[in-house]
Amino acid sequence: MNAYLHLWLIPLLPFAGFLINGILGGRLPKWLVTTVALLAPLAAFGVVLNASLGVFGFVPAASSLPYIETCPLPWINAGLLHVNFSFVLDQLSLVMLLVVTGVGFLIHVYSVGYMGDDKGYARYFSYLNLFLFFMTVLVLAGNALVMFIGWEGVGLASYLLIGFWFEKKSAADAGKKAFIVNRIGDFGFLIGMFLLVANFGTLTFTEIATKLGQDPGWSGGVVTVIALCLMLGAAGKSAQLPLYIWLPDAMEGPTPVSALIHAATMVTAGVYMVARTHVLFDHSPFALSVVAIIGAATAIFAATIALVQNDIKRVLAYSTISQLGYMFLGCGVAAYSAAIFHLMTHAFFKALLFMAAGSVIHAIGGEQDLRKMGGLRKKLPVTFWTMTAAVLAIAGFFPFAGFFSKDAILYAAFLQGTNGKILWFVGVLTALLTSFYMFRLWYMTFLGESRSPDVHPHESPWSMRGPLVILALLSVGGGWIGMERFAGFLAPSVGVLPTEAGNPRLEIILSLVAVLVALEGWLIADKLYRRKPARPAQWAAALPGGYKLLANKYFVDELYGAVVVKPLLGFSKFVLEWVVDFAILGGAAWLLGGIATFTGAILQRWQSGNLRSYAAWLAAGAAAVLLFLLVPWATVLDNLSAIHLGMAGH
């Protein structure tokens, strides 16, 4: 194997695709656009696979991990700060790259079918390739600043794709909302970076780890603040409390975008970042417990909202938030490899869920309301069976992928003392809710009688069904790697699992509990949405307050609107309208105009049109010049001052 892995190709191939389709896309024939758009991620995936061959031991490895590739030209050399453009390949980034380029490629294929009739076809794919470019930069980054480039870039791509149908006001607004809410998180990331530079003098992840390892005095104070700042950034990008509000609105974008960016890859960047900087969190128990609590709280909070949503994509969006909460819970109990494991399986089954939902939406002509679906099982067999696999996986049934990863996180939480038991209980409760709302969605979509009889659904084309099937296989079998082997593989990057010292029997009991809870959720959904379909409405009527609270998502958007957005908007409006526009701009215009008018009014008296007055002014001027030249001013002034001094002398 060659010693050079050509990591730089991984981001640059999608970037080339972005440039070609972005600049020429409108003039190229459609088949060429498709070819370019699909080849870019496929080639990137190929490069990743080539690199992974050595790592997994299929061929002799050329270099030991972490393998670092640095641009020979220095990037920033300012005083003590030296930042290079460096990429790093280790076990963590390799797993993430496989997920990003692999699932990314499948979603590109799916998009060919889903977006086939859209007039912005080339624009769509150029954005999608742009996203892959930034996402791979984020994943490969060897230091925090390069990661920040990718971090901001995926935010940009996300904004562009949420607002892809920008003629629709709601889509444009949702794009802006995502962008602005992410700014708050990015602020935290930036402050964290400043603090890193100030305290460690470097932004390179490996150097930070070395410095922390050398000096055990690093703990508490500074490290906690840095870790919390980074966590704020992660919470923004990964839609955690209190910054999760943008993700449900992001569903305005095309469904494959929701699958790729807002379920499988971009939103997991926060989890990836925490795992990447885990040494900082390891040195701060307080920051770790904050991560765990935010994760658990988000998990159950979002799951309760998902219970009553009627838009198929919104259910999945809240489910994504909830599952991301699990991942942060995993990070918070220092089980980083469990969190990454869940990240991977979640990428499989959540991308599948979104794409299957997209297939349903595509089949029935753009309808997203669960109440208007039903009975689609016979009409859409491939979609139905793949979605079933995904539902079983997310609900945590054995032996589907979600079971293994969710179980690993819950087990790690359970071993974390008393607080860990509470976190575990919240996690299990969330699992019950997850199972319930997923089966609710499943029943309402596919089973029973059709609630819109005049719609004639048709199964999607092969370009959409193919990725569904592949992802279904991964959702079923993605967890069979086994937590032990996965954790062992990741250990050099993120440290060993805290559960190594655990009790195998306890683990089996906890797994049984998790599966029973999932089964219970299914049974409740079965009862409410198959056997007694009138029941949900009755319950909603019996508990109007609770139902309203959930259906309106705890009024968080309204709360933020009243507390943050409205005052800010009012203040900005005041500043813009009165201070800037009226006082500064208007005042300057009035002042300049006034000066011109005033001097004009005075000077116009000279322009009398009277020849003799002009001549008189001319003569007076000449006389003045003559006077000035003839009078010996120096002598006059000397005499004057002599008089003055003489007087002073008296």
Binding site: S608, G609, N610, L611, R612, A615, A616, A619
Partner: protein, 107 residues
């Protein structure tokens, strides 16, 4: 002993005469209303200046001053031709030569 006539006239006399002519021209230009009189005042100023040129040329034995005078006279002649033509045109249009009444740019 040289006769009164053979004595040189002092330089200052010429210059005083020149200044007097020029000042008369200026005053005439400013206070007269008739365009032709104004025009004559300009000639007076020009000739006042001419006189000082000639004086200095004589004093310093330099020919430049006299050449200057020729130029001034040439310009004055040209000016007189153009100026009188304009005066005639103005008079035809306005039937007046009072400068106070000719205060518009167009005829």
């Amino acid at each position: 002993m040289s006769s009164f006539l053979s004595q040189e006239v002092p330089l200052s006399w010429y210059l005083l005469l020149s200044a007097a002519l020029f000042s008369l021209g200026v005053v005439g230009f400013l206070i007269k209303r008739n365009l032709i009189t104004v025009f004559m005042s300009i000639e007076l100023m020009l000739n006042g200046v001419n006189l000082s040129f000639v004086t200095f040329a004589h004093q310093w034995h330099a020919v430049k001053g006299q050449i200057f005078v020729f130029f001034v006279m040439m310009v004055a002649a040209a000016e007189a031709a153009v100026g009188l033509a304009i005066i005639i045109a103005v008079f035809r249009a306005r039937a007046t030569l009072a400068v106070d009444r000719i205060d518009l740019m167009k005829l």
